[in-house]
């Protein structure tokens, strides 16, 4: 029986969240012309002529063995982890439109008992997204909404070899294009916008790679909130639901792929200055319902990022 780790959909979801993490932000520009408040980083787009740059690292432990909704004790001594480095840049084209791009570097590692360790390492996928923000949370606007449309671009390696070609979930890149759609709504409760709630929706349509493998299409829905204290510290939390179809090869469903996940995502941000902030966040599984007999899935993940805003100052 093949046990497939559905990490690719997770990577896209993470990338989308990192994309969303441009901001915030960036939405609550009633913050002081610099790195936006925590919630802003999750939602919006840079101001006109401003750049938002960020670098993030994620460690993802994928060692929970799950059958349907039940966690199963793994007797095989299997261990699976992924480390991801993402570099992201966003630019405010004008008051409404911004563009974001990211590139990734990935290392997958799988250990099975005493059999040894397989590693797939290299440049992962890139992603570009055009964002439209008809309304941005600000001094006199309590509601923000942003729509994004983009594409995942398979710029990395998808044919790494470890005696035989590694499985798709061990490759750094998906080797396949995808269309990505995303929307986020934010609401603040005061001019200072210290407290915000947000909701986001995303959908990824995956295409086949050159080995006829197609990762399952996925959509996700998230609800959360953020709070910026009077100190440099900000806090956020989100409940994130994701639904992924089964993977396919040559249009035939791959068993033990796809399913539903519900995760809790807490985050803490620290503003070193107006323009520079660091953030640490995690992903904690609350519930999952995975297709078919057995799948390895997220035990937990932890992410650290640093962000900088180059503001265009008007005079």
């Amino acid at each position: 029986m093949r046990v497939v780790v559905p990490t690719r959909a997770m990577l896209v979801a993470s990338a989308l969240c990192m994309f969303a993490a441009s901001h915030q932000t960036l939405a609550a520009t009633c913050s002081c012309a610099g790195v936006p408040l925590l919630s802003s980083m999750e939602s919006g787009s840079p101001d006109r002529g401003s750049w938002f740059l960020s670098s993030s690292y994620e460690f993802h432990d994928i060692s929970d063995l799950v059958s349907g909704t039940d966690e199963v004790r793994d007797e095989t001594g299997r261990k699976r982890e992924t480390q991801t480095l993402v570099l992201q840049a966003s630019y405010g084209i004008n008051e409404r439109f911004s563009v974001s791009a990211l590139v990734s570097a990935i290392e997958h590692k799988r250990t099975v008992g005493q059999s040894g360790t397989s590693t797939g390492r290299g440049i992962g996928d890139a992603m570009v997204m055009l964002k439209y923000t008809p309304s941005k949370v600000g001094l006199f606007e309590r509601n923000g909404i942003t729509f994004g449309i983009g594409s995942r671009i398979p710029i990395g390696d998808d044919d790494k070899v470890d005696f035989v070609t590694l499985a798709e979930d061990m490759q750094p890149s998906t080797g396949a294009w995808a269309a990505v759609f995303w929307a986020q709504a934010t609401r603040s409760f005061s001019r200072a916008a210290k407290t915000q709630i947000l909701a986001s929706l995303s959908y990824t349509e995956n295409f086949e790679n050159d080995r006829d493998y197609q990762f399952g299409d996925a959509w996700s829905l998230a609800f959360g909130g953020t709070y910026q204290t009077d100190t440099p510290w900000g806090f956020g939390a989100e409940l994130r639901y994701r639904n992924a179809d089964r993977d396919q090869r040559s249009s035939v469903d791959i068993p033990n792929t796809g399913g539903e996940w519900l995760d809790f995502v807490p985050a803490v941000q620290y503003h070193y200055s107006d323009n520079l902030a660091g953030k640490i966040s995690g992903r904690i599984p609350i519930w999952r319902n995975l297709n078919d007999a057995l799948q390895f899935t997220t035990s937990y993940s932890i992410s650290i990022s640093i962000s900088y805003v180059f503001s265009r100052r008007s005079e």
């Binding site: 520009t29 002081c32 012309a33 008809p134 006199f140 005061s190 001019r191 009077d230 107006d274 100052r313």
Partner: protein
Amino acid sequence: MNKLIILATTSFCVLAYATERGDAAPDFELPELSGNGTVVLADYAGKVVLIDFWASWCAPCRDSLPLLARLHATLADRGFEVLAVNLDEDPDDARRFLLTYPVGYTVLSDQAGHVAESYGLKTMPTSFLVDRRGIVRYVHEGFHATDIEKIRSQILSALQADQSTRTHHH
């Protein structure tokens, strides 16, 4: 859908009418935060005025207010004034802030935010330098400690320019 259209239109209006360099500074009448009556901008005609929008929750304002206070102290005898317009929705937050960061210039309360909206404010803090004729000469968004020298330079330029004009006309 109607609400969305109103939202979009309002946003557009705010953008379309943001006060910029060269514009006449929108007049206003606001209460003093201390409760000692109201202040009208038009009463400052003939002076160079820095209208500084700030709030207690604006972190850079902790740097800007003391530096502007020092600037005002050195230039007040040359016809320079600061009108600090506070945007706290609860004025008591502003009063508590000023206990820690006291200033020697006039502080006004724009609790409803109408004046800030009329100036097209987008970022905090933002300052508008208004010359003796009521024209905006300089707009400064955000604040870092090193910005004070640029602001000082713009104020001195406004004071000297207006002084030269008056001398020439005489």
